[in-house]
């Protein structure tokens, strides 16, 4: 399933823009020769580390010649700009070209290799490059390298003047350019092929991908980017030293890559800043600096192998949990009247096994009707049902843990269909309700079936937008039509645009009727989405299916005919004997028929309940089957 929104809809947009602007104005605010120098080096290393990640992190190809190819870029720049005396700008191009070309040559021997052998061959290849460079001393200066390379000039302006400001912006521009390029590549067909080849080579090959071409492409592109960075490095440092082929620089850049987090573009960039700054701060400690840096690297890898990027994600999750909980608390206090006005029922908090839960209860000594909402929604989704049914029923609904104005909870214990069913049991018990009719929407439908399948006494069961599953994950692919927004249902963090998309797909475009549900999406604890859907596999689906096929509880499926998520044929093929022969689809309704086609839906639900009532009063058993 493919979901790749454009960057300006993802939640990375704001942080990325802020960082770019901050770096762009930094020289004016706090620019010094020294700081600019450090940042130029950081930018260059960030380019090298991030481009390395394309092959190592995304491609799983441990190309340890990457840093040697960076050094090739330095020498290519030196040869073009100094030995041949051509334009230094041409030198930058030559640097990228030669690094890419040599990378393509290196691809030949590693074509058929895997894992550690690639490491060994590429290390050997970088040694060959090193030996060639130092053996050609008349061109490359041998072991002493090339010195006083010409610097870059733009329209006669020497880039190194004014506190290296020219190099600063050039390096920053290249960093932004290479990042955009890498981002585009990883999001493209090629990028997905690269990852597919890493994760399941044989499957990818059997789907018609060429391993050779992907390897060639990955290594060449990542080396070309690194080569350009090498050219820039050569023009900036104005020396080309054979030391750059050594294990020292390799270790430095590899530590950036792994500290940042392999398989992310942003991690290595972040780590380039971190490593350069820490290393600079320890500059006075001589040999101890290397020891401390290495220890730091080991400690981070051992205890926090995801690296800095994982740390950023964790911090973000912490913030998101805090934000959603604060939002829930705030709304609990201030919005109660508005919510009660929507449902016409009174709201109260109930202690359950999985935290404090907000319950709406229309009260009265009438038969109970329990409504269970879906993923990233809230109990107010059922406002129309509260109004339509509370004259005959005691209508009850509650906010799932991590949703609405209920508290956030422990993701491991409290966010799963089973935990949610526990919550439903506890709510019923707290309100002293027995034999309710239960209606569940979407994820809530599974909760409703689970509640019933456990043997809780239930009068009638209705679901909407919930395909009963026999086998997970096999049936998920059959039961759902995977539109791109379907992926959002289990996504931990939703950007503003994604939250809007998800709310629109599940309920409808934002208007007065759905506005509170749009707000509910951004309140929902992202972990509830990720964990509840991630744990679908461990729900006892056979028990649910056995229940639906054999139990004597009246059962109805009330789908929206235009539900974008459902494969309607799947329901027909299931042949679940129920209230009507076929799912009682509500015409012209989407995933939430009870909301936007409330009257039609309420009529169907009422008809279902009435039919049970009639059969019961006739003394007949509840209607399960219309035909065989």
């Amino acid at each position: 399933m493919r979901y790749s929104p454009s960057f300006n809809r993802s939640s990375g947009l704001v942080p990325a823009l802020v960082s770019v602007v901050a770096l762009a104005v930094l020289p004016f605010l706090a620019g010094s020769n020294y700081l600019n120098h450090l940042l130029v080096l950081t930018f260059i290393f960030a380019i090298v580390a991030a481009s390395w990640d394309l092959s190592l992190g995304f491609g799983g190809l441990f190309n340890f010649a990457h840093v040697a190819l960076f050094a090739v870029g330095i020498y290519a720049y030196g040869v073009v700009a100094r030995t041949l005396g051509l334009s230094p700008w041409l030198g930058l191009l030559a640097a990228g070209g030669s690094a890419g070309l040599i990378a393509a040559l290196i691809t030949l021997p590693i074509m058929r290799l895997s894992g550690i052998y690639i490491i060994l061959v590429t290390i050997a290849a970088s040694q060959v490059l090193y030996q060639i460079v130092i053996s050609q001393s008349q061109i490359t200066g041998g072991t002493s390298g090339m010195v006083s390379l010409p610097g870059l000039e733009l329209f006669g302006y020497r880039m190194s003047r004014d506190g290296k400001i020219g190099y600063y912006y050039l390096a920053l521009t290249l960093l932004i350019g290479s990042t955009v390029l890498l981002y585009k590549i990883t999001r493209s067909r090629w990028g997905r092929a690269i990852v597919a080849m890493r994760d399941n080579k044989y499957y990818a090959v059997s789907r018609g991908m060429s391993e050779t071409r992907i390897r060639l492409y990955t290594l060449t592109v990542s080396a070309a980017i690194s080569g350009v960075a090498g050219g820039l490095y050569g023009s900036y440092m104005r020396v080309a030293s054979p030391d750059n082929f050594g294990l020292g620089l390799l270790g430095l850049l590899l530590s950036m890559l792994l500290l940042g987090g392999a398989g992310t573009i942003w991690g290595p960039i972040l780590a380039a800043f971190f490593v350069t700054m820490v290393s600079e701060a320890l500059a006075d400690y001589g040999a101890w600096r290397n020891i401390i840096m290495s220890l730091l690297l080991i400690v981070i890898l051992v205890f926090y192998p995801g690296g800095l990027w994982a740390l950023v994600q964790t911090a973000r999750e912490g913030f998101d949990v805090f934000r959603t909980q604060a939002l829930a608390r705030f709304r609990r206090r201030t919005g109660k009247t508005a919510r009660e006005a929507l449902t016409g029922a009174s709201e109260r908090m109930v202690e359950t096994r999985h935290g404090r839960i907000a319950v709406a209860d229309s009260g009265g000594a009438k038969p109970a009707l329990l409504l269970i909402h879906g993923n990233s929604s809230a109990k107010e989704a059922f406002s129309a049902q509260f109004k339509a049914f509370s004259d005959r029923y005691r209508v009850i609904s509650f906010d799932l843990p991590g949703h609405g104005v209920s508290d956030n909870a422990d993701p491991d214990r409290d966010y799963s269909v089973e935990a949610f069913a526990d919550v439903a049991e506890d709510v019923l018990k707290a309100l002293a309700v027995s034999h309710p009719s239960v209606f569940g929407w979407s994820l809530g439908g599974y909760i409703a079936i689970e509640l019933a399948a456990r043997g809780n006494p239930i009068n009638a069961l209705a679901i909407s937008g919930t395909p009963p599953l026999r086998l997970v994950p096999e049936d998920v692919g059959k039961a759902y039509d995977a539109t791109s927004h379907f992926v959002l249902a289990s996504k931990r963090f939703l950007s503003a645009a994604e939250a809007r998309d998800f709310a629109t797909s599940t309920t409808g475009a934002k208007d007065p009727r759905t506005a509170h549900l749009h707000a509910a999406v951004s309140r929902t604890d992202g972990r509830a989405r990720a964990y509840a859907l991630g744990k679908l596999q461990i729900v006892d689906w056979p028990r649910q299916m056995r229940f639906l096929r054999t139990a004597s509880v009246p059962f109805a499926i009330l789908n929206g005919a235009q539900d974008p998520f459902l494969n309607h044929q799947y329901f027909r093929d299931l042949k679940l004997t129920q209230w009507t022969d076929e799912p009682a689809d509500i015409a012209d309704a989407g995933h939430a028929p009870f909301l936007l086609a409330a009257d039609a839906f309420n009529a169907k639900l009422a008809a279902f309940f009435d039919s049970i009532q009639n059969k019961r009063s006739d003394g007949e058993p509840a209607p399960r089957t219309i035909s065989a």
Binding site: F62, L108, A124, A125, I132, L250, A262
Partner: protein, 295 residues
């Protein structure tokens, strides 16, 4: 080329080969057993030599060569097991243990290298020849010291080979190398065996370091060139068999000795590396390997 020159080259090649065999076998032991490549192996060689120097040399404790070597070998065994527990074991269940162990062993090598630098300084030292004088073998003159180095290497390799073939612990080690899980189910303590393999490898590195230190000079970076050579040797020989790297070591030693004579000092490593790449492309399992162990 006179006959004498050839003899000289041959002898030099054999001495080199014996040292390479010792280093490469140590490297291969870890590679086969744990499936990872230990980049700190070169530093182990240096550290082993320095520990022996510290104990043995008259400039330091002056306890004599034999005591120094023993302390160094035992010490390096312990350091090797410690390195395993600190740098490798935390990734035991991680799917990308191969890359992670590359970077942790590189970092570990950096730490040890700098510590050697701090403790003993960057200047060359010499362990000193143990035996003096020359001996004649089939008409060739060789220094007793170098002859002893070759003999010691071969003896130790033979002992290791017998250990792996016959001793229960050695067999268990081979079993773990071939199928970790099956070995576990047979009651073998895998973690302990890994630690032992790492320790043995480090001890072999120490012996190599001591031999190098006694026939040449030692400095903190003395292990980095041998590490690269050992890498070539292991790839040449393959790891499917214990003897593969040993044959390959002598081939590489002789090749290197001849090429240094024929094409010069600068080009011989290049030629070696190119040959290695060719071998890998044509026969990734090594010249003496039968099947490929890819990780």
């Amino acid at each position: 080329m006179t006959l004498d020159t050839i003899a000289l080259i041959l002898l030099g090649g054999v001495v080199l080969g014996a040292l390479y065999a010792l280093m490469a076998t140590g490297l291969a032991l870890v590679w086969t057993t744990l499936g990872i490549f230990n980049f700190a192996h070169g530093t182990f060689i240096a550290l082993g030599a320095y520990i022996a120097w510290q104990i043995a040399s008259t400039d330091a404790f002056g306890a004599g060569f034999v005591v120094g070597s023993l302390v160094s070998v035992i010490g390096m065994f312990l350091i090797g097991t410690a390195v395993y527990y600190l740098l490798i074991k935390p990734f035991e269940r991680s799917p990308d243990i191969v890359v992670k162990s590359v970077i942790t062993t590189l970092a570990g090598a950096t730490i040890l290298e700098n510590l050697i630098n701090i403790a003993w300084g960057p200047r060359n030292k010499q362990l000193g020849a143990v035996l003096t004088g020359d001996i004649q073998i089939i008409g060739l003159v060789i220094s007793r010291n170098e002859a002893a180095a070759v003999a010691v290497s071969l003896l130790i390799l033979a002992a290791l080979g017998i250990f792996l073939q016959r001793a229960p612990l050695g067999r268990a080690m081979r079993a773990v190398a071939q199928n970790r899980e099956a070995a576990q189910l047979m009651g073998i303590d895998v973690v302990r065996l890994y630690a032992v393999a790492f320790g043995l490898s480090a001890a072999l590195a120490a012996i190599a370091g001591i031999l190098i230190g006694s026939i040449r000079f030692m400095n903190p970076l003395m292990g980095s060139d041998p590490l690269m050579k050992a890498l070539i040797v292991v790839i040449f020989g393959g790891i499917a068999r214990f003897t593969g790297p040993i044959y390959a070591a002598f081939i590489v030693g002789l090749l290197e000795a001849f090429m240094t004579y024929a094409v010069g000092l600068y080009w011989s490593p290049t030629v070696l590396f190119v040959i290695m790449i060719v071998v890998l492309v044509a026969k990734p399992e090594g010249l003496f390997g039968k099947h490929r162990k890819s990780v």
